[in-house]
Amino acid sequence: MIPSDDDIKRQVIPRWRTIRATTAARELAPAKRQAQTYLEDAISARLSQELQMRVREWRQENDLAAAEELIAAAVVSRCPDFQEDVRAAARLVLDDPHSLTGSRDLANSLLGEHRDEPDPMPDETKKMHLEIARRKRLFRIYPRDALLLTETALLYTNLGLNASAKNLLKAAAALAPNNRYVLRSLTRFWVHQAEPDRALHFLSKSAATKRDPWLLAAQLAAEDVAEKKLTNWREAKRILGAEQFSDFELTELAAAFATLQLQAGSHKLARKMFRKSLAEPTENVVAQAQWASRRDPTINVSHELTAKASEALAWEKLVTGRWQEVISASRSWHDIEPFSIRPAVMGSFVAVAHIGDGIIGEEFARRGLIANRGSAVLHNNLAVSLAMQGLVEEAKSELANVKPSAETREEIVNLATRGLIEMRSGNLEAGADLYHKSINLAISLRDAHLWCRACAHFAYECARYNKRDLANITATIMKVYNRLGDQSKIGLNDVPAILARAEKLQSASEILRSLENYRSQLASYPADELTDASGGDKSPN
């Protein structure tokens, strides 16, 4: 079952992506800028002087050595002059069989051909292991690459190998204690591990945290998750008020600040800060503001923004009842953070509950379980997906991974899933009994949400055989559902979806009824044909 959105205390915990994706998202620009120095003019002059000399040599010698020198100077200076010479030199390098691989690489890059680089974050498990092996070899060659250590930790995390990820992140933090990519990544990791205080240890130790709004945002968010006292609250406030940083650089800090204000009940200030954060937001900030808008509808997040933010889009589509679009947005969300359980839970839940598609549900649950082995909710959703496909034995063994405590919400869910599996196995009475136990437990725990959900699922299973009582049951469930608050209804909109699907079902009794004409009109075999040559009757057996 999906964790209710109300249960999740969302904060702007940094996204953890590849170095390439983070650079492309402009999240690694410097926080502290260096004033232009006289040295820079000297560098510029030397670069252009050297390029001119290399062009002169190239025009004179026109050989491989001169070509190599020229393309090196062109790559280092990135000067747009002498393009014709540079391109001719690059072509000569590529045409010459004696040119070496480094020169060929540079020549290709100057001619616009890109180097074949391995995918830093493959999504197939086997490819992930191969990529890890390649990186291990790289670490032996050069162990000081803090960014590669961090990115490899992400690969390990995506595979659920958290102990290995932890070691790499510790090494990366030791090598680059002030690097934003390293610190933000380890913040995400430790929050994923439900140990935000470990992230705070590194953040508070770093000298960069106080001056970098991206790190301050991560610190505020992690402190909120850890329920710790906010250490740099004043500094965050000062930076947000100063004009030192661009809207984009402040977006996550403003959103983190706004979230804290919202939780403290200062809706006015929260709205103001969310407005600021949305001036030039990251995908993560749009998701945060969209989450906040579900709590305070006066916080406005336009569809223009959510369209490019998969998590926000998934929630937006869930609220507006566009289930197929929830699935596709959840896929993109999962691609951003493959280790996160949330897109997997949402995708699998919407697939089985709202759409009734066990295959898609299985896909999401299995992908989520790679990094979240042992997750009760994913094992449950996978069991449901398998049962819906008729794979009851596999469903049973999946569900065996879930051991709920007695008299808890988890037990309500577990009993219902066991009921589903029994009913799909043909053991209708045993299944109905389990569903009843689940429903009764929901009543005794005073959980209207799970009562509605269990009843809706049971009604659906009954409707597969007979829809005679479906209208009455639907009315009973919807009576309870309609009494819930608006927020609850949004989180429970699978219930009307399940009932609507049940209504559209062709039940077994309807199928049998449709076959009645054929059964009653079975043509009898002519009696005279039954006499054989010997005159004896032929038994059908």
Binding site: A29, R78, L175
Partner: protein, 354 residues
């Protein structure tokens, strides 16, 4: 041409590095032979002895921007004077792996300033390693490379012992002298001596920026002279090692792997922060270059080659050099001298057995 100089030298022809199929200089090649900004190279002869004359072109000062002529002239004179002094010092210290000055003087052909040409005569090499490398037979190439590197390390160590940082170590400045069977480090025109002020010392980059260490391209100033200047030589020496196997030095290989957002502002990039903040990005690129180097280096020697480049070209200047030297002189090249000597011997044996 034909001008007679003191000491019996005669100017023969302008100098360049064009080669016939035997790797011998084939034709003169214009005014860029010496590679200097204020100088022109010529071949000079005295009996059987051929040498290289570096003529200082004072008239270049006339081409300076209006109002800047005196400054430019001073710069040329200071540079030439410094180079002469440096050459004299190298000679005195008998630096046998540094191209030595055979003579110095002045040609006077008229009464005007531009008619006076100070010059330095150097030993004439058979060519630089950049072009000669490809002429070497495949079987002996590894031994040839390691021998060149060993000689370069010796030359640099000799300079460093006199507190001179070469600052322009690159393939075109490592010259082969076939008769003597040695390689020598040439062109000390951009060298810097500790405690001696020269005009280009104000530049972060004294030598060719295409071979400069990344911290200089980012405008990072290291206050310690050894780390700044000798560390730069070490980077360039490591880059020279990489050149033999990749065809390029480390600097362009690094720059081509760094996103424009993180490239130095004055090199067409957008990075406005400090070098310390961009260092992990440069190290990421460096790791990728090392990966490529490991793939192309000769299998038998790849561990030593990659380790040497890793130690010498470390993007963090504070960590450059042999790790076992950290407690003593971090920038001492002695260990590399021994290592490349050994590798040259091993490669020679392997080449003979091939």
């Amino acid at each position: 041409m034909g001008t007679k100089l003191e000491g019996g030298w005669t100017v023969e022809s302008p100098l360049g590095w064009s080669f016939d199929d035997k790797g011998k200089p084939a034709r003169p090649a214009g005014d860029n032979g010496s590679g200097g900004n204020f100088s022109v190279g010529y071949v000079v002869k005295r009996g059987d002895q051929t040498a290289f004359l570096k003529a200082i072109d004072l008239s270049r000062a006339m081409k300076a921007k209006p109002g800047d002529m005196l400054n430019e002239l001073k710069k040329i004179i200071d540079t030439a004077t410094f180079e002469q002094a440096l050459c004299a010092l190298c000679g005195e210290r008998r630096m046998d792996r540094v191209v030595l000055a055979l003579a110095a003087g002045e040609i006077v052909v008229g009464p005007n300033l531009q008619d006076r040409v100070p010059y330095i005569i150097f030993e004439l090499a058979d060519g630089d390693v950049r072009r000669r490398m490809r002429l070497v037979n495949e079987n002996v190439r590894a031994a040839w490379i390691f021998s060149a590197l060993q000689n370069a390390a010796v030359g640099l160590r000799q300079l460093h012992s006199a507190k001179i940082a070469h600052q322009d170590v690159k393939p075109s400045n490592l010259l082969q002298f076939e008769k003597q069977n040695v390689f020598k480090v040439g062109d000390v025109g951009r060298a810097i001596q500790e405690g001696v002020a020269v005009p280009r010392a104000e530049y972060g980059i004294a030598g060719d920026p295409s071979y400069a260490p990344p911290e200089l391209l980012y405008g990072h100033y290291v206050p310690d002279w050894n780390t700044r200047r000798v560390g730069c030589d070490l980077f360039m020496f490591g880059s020279l090692i990489a050149f033999f196997f990749l065809g390029q030095g480390i600097t362009p290989m690094l720059m081509s792997r760094i996103d424009a957002a993180h490239l130095p502002r004055r090199a067409g990039g957008e990075w406005q922060g400090f070098y310390a903040d961009v260092l992990p990005i440069v190290q990421r690129a460096f790791s990728s270059v090392l990966e490529e180097l490991e793939l192309v280096a000769p299998k038998k020697f790849k561990d030593e080659i990659v380790a040497s480049v890793r130690q010498l070209c470390e993007p963090d200047p504070a960590l450059r050099g042999h790790p076992r030297n950290r407690t003593e002189n971090q920038f001492d090249l002695s260990r590399y001298v021994s290592q490349f000597d050994l590798l040259a011997k091993h490669a020679a044996i392997a080449g003979r057995n091939a």
